[in-house]
């Protein structure tokens, strides 16, 4: 057999997994349906001369240790900017930089609260962090290593001390709205922190579990280093290009334009894959970077699975609520009151918690936000190579846009584009006049382009019932699946999405353990 392992999908997790497997001596083949590697971390043209990070647009969760370990710098990864500031945009023309000092100038109480609050949450995140980097323990039928894993996590939480442990247990099941209301007074601060709690998720700040996602985001960020927000030179594609280069250097073979039609099974064990063109490639281990639904229901086929398991996969909640807006601009956008450093950073349109909740409300009924919340970057400020000289790219995450838009996205897309631009223009007057080209990706488009069910970045909602030991579902939560030789390594597995790579590395660890 020519290959030990076949990885289906060259997203960042697939590539991370390939790197670690190859470094342990496995002969690895990565198959990618698209004509380039990268999955949802790519840079591509969207208008003549204009390039953009088409899905994820900032790097803030990939551990520094991983970047070093895989020597991504030597393989071409560099940063146009690091330690990017975040500004909460305000209608009064005074954007608020999110740090204790700047907040204190606006509201003394909030300035005093901000430091201890983020510090405490950081501490909680740090306590939960080891959980992100481990293979989740099994609850039933577990062995000693599973029990040890639980004990370790319990110890981490216990060692916070009595006061902090109680506080963690108190807030863990709360919603972000209630938590932020009791901590802060200014709408802008609460809105910005609330936005982080719901970004990329299918719920609003008042929904249960939104403190969990806030902690998740902070834990992932704290893993990546002290100053997490960074912008790779050349866009997010540079990260996956470097991962691919590192993988190739380690002996991994990567084929693009090679769509896997089906995972082959013989005698209840994976025997390789069948490509869309009918070609059969054999390998004893197949690792899927695709989301769980695609992996099990489309690539594997339910005839190899038990009904109860299929039922759980079928019930997996995976409806994206985030759209992407790309603008090609003739000249830099002018956000009132924002300096050049600020413009090069992360900008939030989430002026209050109520604004967020109101933006979320219509999605329950298949409608889009009247006034969406946004995360905006202008990557050309730090990286002019992405646009013709003097011209700029604006990339924004637009929340909320339901996967199943009631009237259909053919009708809804122009309205969504218009509302998103209108929401930005409220803070950047004259924006519309500078627009040369527009691209909007609805969750439906994101699903189609990146092959993610429901257009959901996390390959499945991050919520208590789909988290940690039960992510994506019991029976597949340790990267293993019911079919021997088939593994998962994508965002649908613990710890989830975001360009983090932890799922890929944990999966590799599990595969190597299995073989040993």
């Amino acid at each position: 057999m020519a290959y030990d392992c076949i990885i289906v999908g060259a997203g960042h997790n697939g590539l991370v997994c390939a790197n670690y497997l190859a470094r342990s001596g496995r002969k690895v083949l990565v198959l990618e349906a698209a004509d380039r590697v990268g999955g949802a971390a790519i840079t591509r043209d969207f208008a003549p001369g204009f390039r953009v990070s088409a899905c994820a647009h900032l790097l803030h969760q990939m551990p520094q240790a991983m970047i070093k370990e895989l020597d991504l710098a030597r393989h071409g990864l560099s940063f146009a900017a690091t330690a990017l500031p975040t500004h909460a945009l305000a209608l009064d023309g005074r954007p608020l930089r999110l740090d204790a000092r700047a907040i204190g100038l606006r509201s003394g109480a909030d300035g005093a609260a901000y430091g201890p609050f983020t510090e405490r949450l950081g501490k909680f995140a740090a306590a939960l962090l080891p959980a992100l980097q481990m293979v989740p323990p099994r609850l039933a039928n577990g062995g000693w290593s599973d029990r040890l894993g639980l004990v370790k996590l319990g110890w981490q939480i216990r060692s916070l001390g009595r006061t902090d442990m109680r506080e963690l247990l108190r807030i863990l099941g709360m919603n972000a709205y209630d938590l932020l209301e009791e901590q802060f007074e200014s709408d802008l601060v609460k809105g910005a922190l609330g936005f982080d709690a719901v970004l990329g998720s299918g719920f609003g700040p008042r929904s249960p579990g939104s403190v969990l996602t806030l902690l998740y985001r902070l834990a992932a960020q704290s893993a990546s280093g002290r100053e997490p927000l960074s912008q790779p030179q050349g866009g997010m594609g540079a990260v996956t290009d470097a991962l691919a280069a590192a993988a190739r250097a380690a002996g991994v073979e990567i084929r693009t334009g090679a769509a896997v039609a089906r995972i082959a099974v013989e005698n209840d064990k994976t025997s390789g894959v069948v490509l869309a063109d009918g070609a059969v490639i054999a390998a004893g281990t197949v690792i899927s970077n695709a989301d769980p639904r695609t992996t099990f229901l489309k690539l594997l086929g339910t005839e190899h699975l038990d009904t109860g398991f299929v039922r759980r996969i079928d019930h997996l909640r995976s409806r994206g609520l985030v759209a992407k807006l790309h603008l090609a601009l003739d000249g830099p956008p002018e956000f009132t009151g924002l300096d050049r450093v600020g413009l090069g950073g992360r900008l939030l349109v989430a002026p209050s918690l109520d604004y967020l909740e109101r933006a979320f409300n219509p999605t329950k009924y298949g409608e889009m936000s009247e006034a969406p919340a946004l995360e905006i970057t202008v990557p050309t400020v730090n990286d002019p190579s992405l646009a013709p000289a003097g011209q700029h790219v604006l990339s924004a995450l637009v929340q909320y846009a339901p996967y199943k838009f009631a009237a259909g996205w053919d009708v809804g897309k122009p309205r969504l584009t218009d509302r998103a631009i209108e929401a930005i223009e409220a803070y950047a007057p004259g924006l519309r006049r500078k627009i040369i080209a527009v691209e909007t990706l609805t969750p439906l488009d994101i699903e189609a382009e990146f092959g993610m069910t429901g257009g959901h970045w996390h390959h499945g909602e991050l919520a208590f019932d789909q988290f940690f030991m039960v992510r994506p579902v019991p029976g597949a939560a340790q990267y293993r699946t019911p079919v021997a030789g088939l593994f998962l390594c994508g965002a649908g597995s613990h710890p989830g999405g975001g360009v983090m790579g932890a799922a890929g590395r944990n999966a590799a660890r599990q595969i190597l353990k299995q073989a040993a």
């Binding site: 209840d268 005839e303 038990d306 109860g308 039922r311």
Partner: protein, 402 residues
């Protein structure tokens, strides 16, 4: 297909009546009714003994309509069923019936029933309990259509040594040539009648399937044709006696569906139920296969067996022990009967490992109520093969017709 319309609104009569209910009424003397799958059915018409002996010595008619029925059809119906049940459905030819069980992911039995292969791509699944939710979820990823057809098919079970003679008298030419588990289609003066040589009695017998609209008229013809052959409507009580003699399992009596158990350890695998012969581990994947392989490697923890118990007092719900002193409990009786035909004291029982092995010493604790005074007996029980009663006429081809 026409649906049999119940004459009254559902809120007036929450239990359904089968299309034979009106015809059966004149035979009812005891008003002993029981519920079955949402229908009113008869437990005893007049005398359970007479009804039992109709099964064994003449011909019994049992209203089978409440049996839950599903139509499973489509290009992938065979693959679908093969993934659903433990037996190899690819081997089931059109015009044949197979008894089978189906399991959940853990390899525990959800229900038992029969699969009728009506054609290359059309099946009927008869189940003890409602299964639509499980059947539909099992259909994810298969090109197959599933419909509940319980109310659209009326059915009677005709069991006993003269059952073939009755069908011949009715005009079903060639019915005697049906082998066990065969399906035959007959035209009865323009009425389509499907006959399967199946049943729950371990005797010669047939099940008759028809359009509910024609049920009443058919009943009249059947009873007229059967009169010289001793035909008699029977209720569930007599049938239960015959099924214990035949060694057949009854859900909620001998096992509880894995979909309904609450306590751990109450689920039962096909191996534990002594149904190894229904499990084809070599046919490819099916629900519960991986768990069953693991169980096979581990060895069974318990097993359902047949017992022959000394004396003549039925061992209903008896606890079973490894010694006369009753120190170590090793199992329980789930079904028990003094068999009028075998003249043996029979029981179906679940025994812990290793007491289901031949030669184990087993004692049954039997309580007797003697005019409100309870007496306790410890009697020896002996492992014995099932079925307890299996007359040659059950399988004979051509079937006996007198």
């Amino acid at each position: 297909m026409q649906t049999f319309a119940n004459p009254e609104p559902h809120y007036r009569r929450p239990l359904l009546r089968t299309p034979f209910a009106g015809r059966a009424e004149p035979f009812i003397q005891t008003d002993a009714y029981i519920q079955w799958s949402g229908y009113t059915t008869v437990d005893v018409f007049s005398s359970v003994e007479q009804e039992y002996f109709a099964i064994r010595n003449a011909c019994s008619v049992y209203d089978l309509t409440p049996m839950v029925k599903y139509r499973i059809a489509g290009p992938e119906a065979e693959r679908y069923l093969n993934r659903l049940v433990t037996r190899n459905i690819a081997k089931l030819k059109p015009g044949r019936v197979a008894y089978t069980v189906w399991c959940n992911d853990a390899g525990h039995v959800i229900d038992d029933g029969t699969v009728f292969r009506l054609g290359a791509t059309e099946f009927r699944l008869c189940t003890a309990e409602r299964q639509l939710d499980w059947l539909l979820d099992s259909a994810i990823g298969f090109d197959v259509e599933i419909a509940e057809v319980t109310e659209t098919i009326a059915a009677l079970s005709l069991q006993g040594p003269t059952s073939c003679a009755v069908l011949k008298a009715l005009g079903l030419a060639g019915v005697e040539r049906l082998k066990m588990f065969d399906i035959g289609r007959f035209d009865l003066d323009g009425m389509a009648l499907t006959v399967s040589r199946t049943g729950f009695t371990g005797d010669l017998g047939y099940e008759l399937w028809m359009d509910p609209v024609q049920a009443g008229a058919f009943w009249d013809r059947l009873m007229a044709a059967g009169r010289p052959h001793g035909i008699r409507p029977i209720g569930s009580a007599a049938l239960n006696m015959a099924r214990i003699e035949a060694g057949f399992l009854q859900i909620n009596v001998d096992f509880v569906s894995a979909e309904h158990t609450i306590r751990t350890g109450r689920d039962r695998s096909p191996f534990e139920l002594g149904l190894d012969w229904l499990v084809d581990l070599g046919k490819g994947h099916f629900n519960g296969r991986r768990a069953l392989l693991a169980e096979q490697a581990r060895g069974p923890r318990r097993r359902l067996v047949g017992l022959d118990i000394e004396g003549n007092k039925p061992a209903d719900h008896a606890l079973l022990y490894a010694e006369k002193s009753g120190k170590r409990q090793i199992g329980t009786v789930s079904s028990a009967l003094w068999s009028p035909t075998c003249k043996r004291n029979l029981a179906l029982a679940m025994l812990d490992a290793p007491y289901f092995e031949k030669g184990a010493e087993i004692w049954a604790e039997i309580y007797l109520n003697r005019e409100l005074v309870w007496e306790r007996r410890m009697v020896r029980a002996h492992l014995t093969d099932r079925p307890f009663f299996a007359p040659d006429r059950r399988k004979a081809v051509p079937a006996g017709d007198r």
